[in-house]
Each structure stands twice: as C-alpha cells, then as structure tokens.
Assembly symmetry: D2
Homo-oligomer: 352 residues x 4
C-alpha cells in the first residue's frame, strides 16, 4: 500500500501518520520526492481498505494499492497452478479446467414442461453436451413476465437428469430456496444480477455443490474475483467463473457486449476455471456460433449455450436460443477449432 501525501504536508502530520501505521503493526517507509512525500506500507496489507486509510489524515492525497485485494481466488497465492473443478454426474465425472477438454453446457433459459426439457436434454446430450442448463427460478426485468415454474421445475430437471445422465446447472435467486435447489443441481448458479448479493454468496459458499458465478453486467474484474472470494472464504473451493456480456454504451444491435478479452486477463489473475456464455453475451442466436468459435480459440474451459426446441414459443429468452438442429450443426464446427487448440474430446456420434 502506498500513501501519497499532499504538497505541503506538515512534517508533524507525516510523523503522526507513520506512528499510527506502526501501531497497526505495519512498517512505514518514507520517500521524500521533489513535490510530494509518499509512504510505503510494509506488512500484511492485503485486507486493508485504501479508502479507510485515506481517512487517517486530510493531508493524504491518495492511497494506491500494490497487492491485489483477492487472495484465495488469486493465481499468485495458488502458486501459479490452475484449479480443476471436478463434478460427478450420473454419466460420469466431468472436469472443468485449463488442462481439460472444453465442457459444453446447453439447454433452455427456463424449464417449461416435462416434454420440452427431456427432449432438449436428449438432443443436447446427443450433440456432445455434458450439462443441462435450465431455470426453475427466473430473474425477469418485469414483474408481469414469466417468473419460472419454481419448485415443480426442479422435479422436471431431476427427471431430465435421470433420463439422460447429464449434470444439472440451475440458478438460485433467494437464500430460502438454496437447499432444495442444491438437492437437484450438480452445479448451483449465481446469476449476474446477484453477483453482489453477498448474503447469497456466503450461503452458496457454505454448501458443498460447485458454484457457477456469472459476472455482473457492470462488474469490474476485480469485483467479480472478490465475489468469488466470498464463496471461497466461506469454505467452498469449487467456483467456475462465467462471462456473459457486459453493459456498454452501445446496445442497439447486441443486448450486451461479450467481453471475450477477459479470458487472457483472468488467466493471469486467477486459477479458477472460465466459462463463456455467448447466448446471453450477445443476446441474438445468429451471433452465437461465431462467438462460440472465438471462445474456444481463446481457450475457454467451458461454453454455455441456450438451446430451445422451439425458440419462437419460448417463455423467456427465445431470441438468443439455438434450435437443437442449429446446435447439432455448431458442435462439429467448434470441434474443428477445439482440436486445433487441443482442447477437444472425441466427438460423439449423433444418433437421435
């Protein structure tokens, strides 16, 4: 932590501040510049808040952080080793991680009825997916829009799991629903709008199922990793990060701006596995294949793609869903890129 003093700060004030830092168990090191004095703080500074330090004296101009604020999520603190998140599913163990094939997650925005969810599960499994996504509880901008079938949809997800062997990923929106969701889900999802719902983060961190943490739509990388830190600090080491598009000044043609460039940045900062969601990331089905291919080339560990048997009749997010047929067509294209970057498994024979 570096404390920059204002021009003309009195010597006595600098000494008083230095003493205060010493009292905190830190070692202050003073540098007298041409115009300004700066104080370097040596010691255990990672959990200090720069804003709070600033308040010690009105003569402090600014406080600059040298250490990253996240620890458990940090690649550096993990000795430079990338983690695997290993998830048992009925059809076998699936591993998310930098040294494993790209894991495909597919399915509809929301679970609508038994037939559609089982049909979709069968189709995406046949095409190569390992996980079925599908919402029982849906965050919707309007109170008048379909809010998900809730608990009954959880039963349908369990049925699809049993019928196909796919793992289940579904979202939790309220701490009160966590227990029953975690009974069905193989991975519990925290959605973009709840990325800084700290009560929820603490509670998903205190249960055993792996957590998929979507990036908030205007969350900085640092805030996102701090949200992961909440889960890790609560005791759950299995966190997967999912980029799903950020909010920028231009929303005329795409609903969000897919920040694919976050991928190499995260690889330098964190050991956690990285998923990309080009469906929410772009908001339009016609842009999904291109961005899915780019994601694989950029080295993502997993892809989440919305697939709906009849997007025109979808109760939510229709415009960004692929049909099962379009997904069938996309997977072999992804495989070509995936093999080129050595991140693909043998493509299953399509038998539906």
């Amino acid at each position: 932590m570096i404390v920059v003093m204002k021009v003309g700060s009195p010597e006595t004030e600098i000494n008083r501040i230095s003493q205060e830092f010493s009292d905190w168990g830190l070692t202050p090191e003073k540098i007298v510049g041409k115009h300004k004095v700066v104080i370097g703080l040596v010691g255990e500074t990672a959990s200090l808040d720069p804003l709070q330090i600033q308040e010690i004296s009105p003569w402090i101009e600014t406080v600059l952080r040298v250490e990253q604020p996240f620890k458990r999520a940090s690649l550096e603190f993990h000795h430079g080793e990338y983690s695997d998140v290993v998830v048992p599913t009925p059809a076998g163990v699936v591993t998310f991680g930098k040294n494993h094939p790209v894991v495909l997650v597919a399915g509809p925005c929301s679970v609508e009825n038994e037939e559609m969810i089982i049909e979709t599960a069968r189709r995406v499994k046949a095409a190569g997916a390992k996980f079925l996504r599908g919402g029982a509880y849906k965050p919707r901008t309007s109170p008048y829009a379909f809010q998900g079938h809730g608990e009954s949809a959880l039963g349908l997800l369990a049925a699809a799991r049993e019928a196909t062997g796919l793992g289940i990923i579904t979202e939790v929106m309220d701490t009160a629903d966590l227990e029953k969701i975690a009974e069905v889900a193989d991975v519990v999802q925290v959605g973009a709008r709840n990325m800084q719902n700290f009560s929820l983060l603490k509670k998903v961190g205190a249960q055993p199922k792996p957590v998929l943490l979507k990036r908030g739509m205007s969350a900085t990388i640092s805030e996102w990793l701090m949200a992961a830190e909440y889960i890790l600090a609560a005791g759950n080491p299995n966190v997967i990060l999912c980029e799903r598009g950020i909010r920028t000044f231009d929303r005329e043609y795409a609903r969000n701006t897919l920040d694919l460039a976050v991928l190499p940045v995260l690889r330098h900062l964190t050991h956690l596995p990285i998923m990309i969601d080009p469906s929410h990331g772009t908001g339009k089905a016609e842009y999904v294949p291109t961005m899915a291919m780019a994601s694989v080339a950029a080295g993502c560990d997993s892809l989440m793609i919305e697939v709906h048997p009849n997007p025109a009749k979808a109760l939510s997010d229709g415009p960004q869903s692929l049909t099962p047929a379009a997904f069938d067509e996309l997977v072999p294209q992804l495989a070509v890129i995936g093999r080129a970057v050595k991140r693909w498994w043998d493509v299953p024979v399509l038998t539906h």
Copy 2:
C-alpha cells in the same frame, strides 16, 4: 407495439403473423412501406415482451415498443398526479413529495456503537434532519471488510429513534432479515446492488413499511422503474426512488457519476418521490456540498447525506462522510437554495 418486417418478407408470412396476433386478441394494422412492411399492434400490449414477439417469425426484423413497460410507477397511469409518501415518525409525520419541503436524511454508513449513533442522531436532528440513516447489515465488496453489526445494530437504531424522535432508514440485504428490520425501520432501504434482487423486491412489496429503492449502479431508468413496479405490484404503494451515482468510464476522481439529470427525466415518467444521495454519488466528502446544493436547485424531494462523528475512524465509507460540523454548515447553504425554489421549511435553531 410496432413489428418491423425484413425486406422481402413473403406475403403469406405476413398474413400468418397477423393471424397469430389476432388470435392473441390484438388488432394488427399493416403499413406497406417503400422497402419494408410494418405491423402496428392495437390492444393490451403493455405487458408483452418485444423479444418474445420477435421470435414468432424469422422474417421479423425488430419490434419497437410504443407503450412504456411500467404502469403502476408511471405518471401517465397516475393521471399526471405526483404521489406523496407519508411516513409517521416519533417526532411527527414527514411527507416525501414534489409539493413538500426537501426532507433531509443523514447519518453514518454503518452503526458502530451506541454512543456514536446516538451522538450522530442528536447532531443531525439539531441541524434539520428528519431521518437517521445507518446500516446494520452492510454490502461490502470484500469478504474481509466489516460486514455490519447485524441484529445488535438494529437495537441501537431503535435507541437512537427513541432518544431523538428521528425516523429510521436502514438497508435489508436478505429476505430472511426483513421482518426484524421492518420492526425498527420507518423506511426499509433496498440497496443499489440488490435493485434487481427480485425475490427481495417482492417481499418488501408485501410488507407495510415504505421502501427506499436505490438505483443500481448500471441500471437504466427503465429497469429502475421496473424494479419499483415489482414493489408496487406486490401491494406496497409507498416507494421512494434514490439516485446514488452510476458507473461510467471515468472513476479516477469520483467513485461514481452522480446522474442528477435523471431528476427532470423521472419527473416526466413517474409520480414517485425522488431522493438524491450525493455522498455515494460522488464518493468524496469534499464534493458533497456542491452536489447537495445542485440537487435542491434541481428540485429533489429529499437528500441523503452521510454524516459520521469521526470519518477517519469510520468502519466503512469514511471518505464520503461529512462531520457533524460540516453538516451544520451545509444545511443553511441548502436552505438559501431551498427557499429560492420554495422547497424549504423554517430552519431550526441549532442548540447543541
């Protein structure tokens, strides 16, 4: 709702779509343009989702909304009359609304101990505040930062209420805590990070205390009003909107960008009372007085200002807090503007 068809859309498809709209109980009106056909939908369209309509046919280029998506929050649906939110406090009834004096809300970011909260309450009351703000549960970016004293802090707020007669505004972060917070609070606050925590919105909408709804840091005006709509639709008519700074590309000198210009926009769209929070809005105490004065000139109904007896020792948000002395100095300056725009009450004599 206006449906724009792609260039070259087949006549049969346009007819099929029109029939589908008729089946929904809408009246489609077709306009044949030079290059494109558009279909106007007449009927009850406010609750329709444009994205979903788009999915009816691949020949639909775009769907444009003519009606606002919010109803209960809308000025138009409220016959152009602005609402009052009337809050009983121990010291008397306080009214938030366009035709009433500016209501001052002040206090620390978080409740730290009995002495500080009661001392702060006394000082801000003497200066002219009608409500004490103070957090028992605090949303913090880092899991390692002070998270609020929780339930015990609620007791201290109750004590401050009793000691001073001020109304209490405090934040709820988890549906599980709502009941005990609503027992103490005169106004329940939903924070910026939970603006789209729809479970929470439904539950604060189903209890009787007025709700202060802060704008999410990248929420559009439309999303903000839809969040208010959740509360209103759940049965609670007493919602106050609070602008607290949005996230933009420049965060070097101010933590957020206070979007004061939202004030005239909201006045055209909604009947709900409007509060401005220049403390979070700028993130620095030295910018607060200027923006508080501008807010009063712009016609806000209420101001929320952070005041802490010793900002340097604050457990959270110190840099943006005024001292009680600075608040004492600010209120008469606000009064000068407030009287000029005829939105002030008689300034109380400072007797502390």
Copy 3:
C-alpha cells in the same frame, strides 16, 4: 512515480532498473515489502509516461503515477489561484471566472439565415446573454444532414455581432478554416468530437483568441485537462472548459448524461473557468431549465443554452433548443438561484 516489481523479481534486475533510473537523472528509492519490492522515483517525473517505464523490464508489474500529468492546467501549479478569461466584446469586456457573475451564452445550433440569427441575437441579448453561439461549420453524424452554411454564415455572425454588441462563439472543425473563423469569433470553440484532434488543438493554441474546449463524449477528466494542456502549451492561456454530457449505458430518455458532478472535481484540479451546456448535455429542451438551475447552484462560471426562434424548423438540434420566450422565462429563475449563491449581475429589464 512508483514502480511496483512482480513477486520474485531478481535482485540483479532491481539493481539494473535502479541504475537505469539514475542514468535518467532520477533518484530511485527502494522499499522492500513482504511480497513485493517497490521503487519510488524522485525527481522531474511529471512528463514521464508510466506505460513506457513499464517496458524497461518484464519484471515490472505496474507503474503508479503520483504527480498529475497536467501542469499548466493544474490548480496546484497555478498556486491555487483561479484564472479569469477576459474577453472584449463590442458591448464591453466580459470575464469568465470563479469570482465573477455567471456568463450566459445563447443562440441556435447553426446559423440558418440573416433574419433568424439577428432576431435570435436580439432576443437573447435582451434576456441577459453576453455571447451569441451559432455554428457555421457543423459536425453531423450523417453525411446527408445539413453541414452548416460555412463561410457565408461567418458573415451573418459578424452582422449579428455588430447589430447587438454580443460576443460571438463559433466552432472550428478543420485547421484550414481557423484563420477566417478567428477573424469573426470572440471565442473559438473546439467541439466534443475534436477534443483529441491534436493538430487542431495545437493550432488554436497558437492563435490569440480565447478557446472554448468542449469535453469529448467519453473523455476522462484527465484526458480533457491534457487536451487543455495542448492549447496552453502552445501559448494560449485563455481556455474555458465546457461540460456537455458524456456517454453512458442509458440513452433511452436523454441523449447524453450531463456530468454536473465534474464541477467540484474540476475546482480541485484546475484553475480554468468552467461552462456547462445543459442543452447538449440532456438533448431535450424540457430538461434544460432544471439542469441550468442546478448548474448555477453548483457554481458554474458560464452557461451555454441553445435558443432557436422556431425549434420545429431548425436545420439541426431542434429538440434541445428553447424558444426565445422560454429563455425569457428561464433567466429570472436562474437569477433567483444566482443571487442566492452570489453569482449574478443585475437582471436587465426585458424590453423587446
């Protein structure tokens, strides 16, 4: 300048770097932290580029600037004194500055014909304006939109100046036009889209007329002040900064987000006078009066307001223009606030 080394940087590399800084005439001061080494650079560092320093070694993690990059625009380097920009006009000298009354600038987006510009000039002068704004050369998003009457419009501005005694403010878009514009204009305007047209900045800095520098629509405060620095460094000390709205994620109801909170920030950073343009800042005439009043309360030195005799027939920017009658009505409202903050002159009697 603070150089932060990566964890595990070799001692020899730290010594090599330190030697290189010494060779540049700087004094490196090393602080050995618990995890990282940082090097403080003492000496003349204001003109160094942090990005370039970073390239000296792959072991450098980041470089933090302690000094502001701007000098001539800085309040600190100006010994804490605010500057006045004094402009002679036919009707007398007008001063822009923190210790002077608010200067009103008004007029149409573009000069359309002699009658309209002279009529508008008369009306805004009668209401209290000191300067007429009006574009001869117009930056337009579309090549098919009206591009301004160019040179002939300059003649009309000169006629309006002569007829009314108002000073003239008009925009230069091309270095080739500067000379003829500077002959007519009392203040030369650099528009938002050209804020980083460095060729243009150098050239307006090398001519004697004061310059109005509009903020680019996504320019940081720092970039804006560096653009001012270009003009100041080229020899022209008379620069007025004009905030005109920035680009954010929400553009549904207002064209831009007027960043009024930049006002107190600029007051801490720079000595240059500050103008606010609520017309471009909001993009809608109905929001202009509210934000104009807020600007005066916030302490702006000048206001620029679009006024057009017939906004419905304007060749550009009609929706954000006030009618002369609306401007007549607004000025006395501004005066009420202006007098409250002691920044107003005696309001002239309206005699038209």
Copy 4:
C-alpha cells in the same frame, strides 16, 4: 419512420402533422391504438432525422426509425454481397475481404529510425505480413509525449516499402498532411480519435487510396458505419473497418475492451471488410496472441498487430508490442486456426 403521438393528442394536431408529411412527399398512415396514435411514414425516409421530425409538434412523443441511416455502407443496399478491397503493393496485389485469406498487418506504433523500421519490416514480412504499419504522425494524450517524426518518417516508410515489397499503412491526423501521406501510403488510416473528424473523412473520401477507418473508442456501430458512409459518399469505395477496443467501465487490467462480438454484427449490417487490432484492443502484449487467435476463429478479414524490435525502448505504445520473435511464434498458431476455418494461405518458410 414511425411517429408516436402522446396520449390525448388532439385530432386536429394529428391531421395537421399528417398534412405536413404529405407536403414533404411522404405518405402518412395512421394507426389508432388503445392509448396512443402512431403514424407510419411511407416513402424516402432514410435521410430524415428522427430528432427533427420530433420538433414538428409538441404532441409527438417519440420517432422510431425503421430504415437504417446508412446506405452505401449497408449490406442490404449492396444486394447482400460482401466487397473486396484490392490493394496493389510492390510484392503484388493483396485483397481484403470475406472470401480471402486473413491479411496480416504488422509493425511498430511509430517510425523511430531507418534501421528499426527496415529491420521490423523484414522480420514481419518473413513471418507472413503483407503490410507494414507505422506512424509518422502520432496522436498522443500528452503534448509532452513524442509526437512522431512527421514528414521525415514518411521517407523511411517509403524506404521500407522498397526494401521489402510490403504495402504501407499509416495514419493521417490533419487534412493539411493528407497529400504527402497518400503519396507513400498504400492504405491511409483514420485513427480512433478522428473517426468523427468529418472534414478529414470528406477529404480521405475524395482521394484514391483505400482507407482504414478505426472505430472511435466510444463510437456506436451505427456512428462508425455513418463515418464510413462519409468516405463512401465522397466517392471512395475502398473502406476497411478496424475494431480496436472500446471504452468501458473497467480499465484496470486492459486499456480497452476489445469488442470482438462486433464482428458477427457487422457481417449482418455491412459489406465492408473487417480488421481486428488486438494490440490497441487490449493494450498489453501478453493478451495479444489469445485475442488474435479468437479473431481468426471469429472470421476477421485482417489482423493488425504491433511489432517492435525492442518494446522496452519504444517511443510509444511499447507495452502492447510483440517482439519479432513473439510474432514469429504467433503466426503459426494463427495458421492452425486459420486453416481450420479455411481462411489461411500457405505459411511462408521463415528464413531470417
């Protein structure tokens, strides 16, 4: 164009407006909705400005555009056919376009001296580049930073062209320099900061060399295509679009946010070839290879990559430059992806 009237608009006003549209040669078609009346305008509306239409009556609530504002840049108006930009270079003709191999453009940010530019040119050519980029005139945030060697650097670029046969791409910042730049350059670049310098756009549109148009850092897709429209409308059909990163709320780890997802959007909107610049797009050399690979997988027509023989000593933009050795290593990786998507040529044997 769709005109939405406010609730309660008087019949007489609707008739008056309709008459006015008829007078303009348009056919107004009225739809009477449940709450509002909308008027569809049939005829030649592409060049109309919605903001201007809105001014016709205070009873108009909003005006919605149905047609795109760009024509010559539009894929639709180009009958769905993608264009090629064919550039003769000393080493042969190079074609930019969707049905051609990815064109590699490489070189330093600025031309520093003869040895460095010729050495760099030789290395990037050997690795597979077809064009050398290098700045003679440099837009720099600070007036105290290196501004480019100007005219003398143009001579060095000509020498590098002759020595290697590479085409030259270099930036024009001032209309006054265009002629001498166009003598040396095979492609003239308009930089991000000048994307809406309309004087410059008109002038590069009126000369015969192809133009590389970089996206402004907060330009919407629509504004970018309108900037291209300026060049096309001035008579120059050879425009290449270059995405180079946009400005968002997070700039802590990457200088810009590379908006790779603009690629599929542009493919639906425009026939013009698309280049991606991952060097400026991310601002850090370590992120460039990943994003270059993603760009090829996403189907870009060209890549622009900064290469400098000694990034640590670069006079500008060092941190984002690859060394020639890193570029040598990258190209075969790109080739693997490029062949997978069938957009690569035979990789040349590296012989340096």
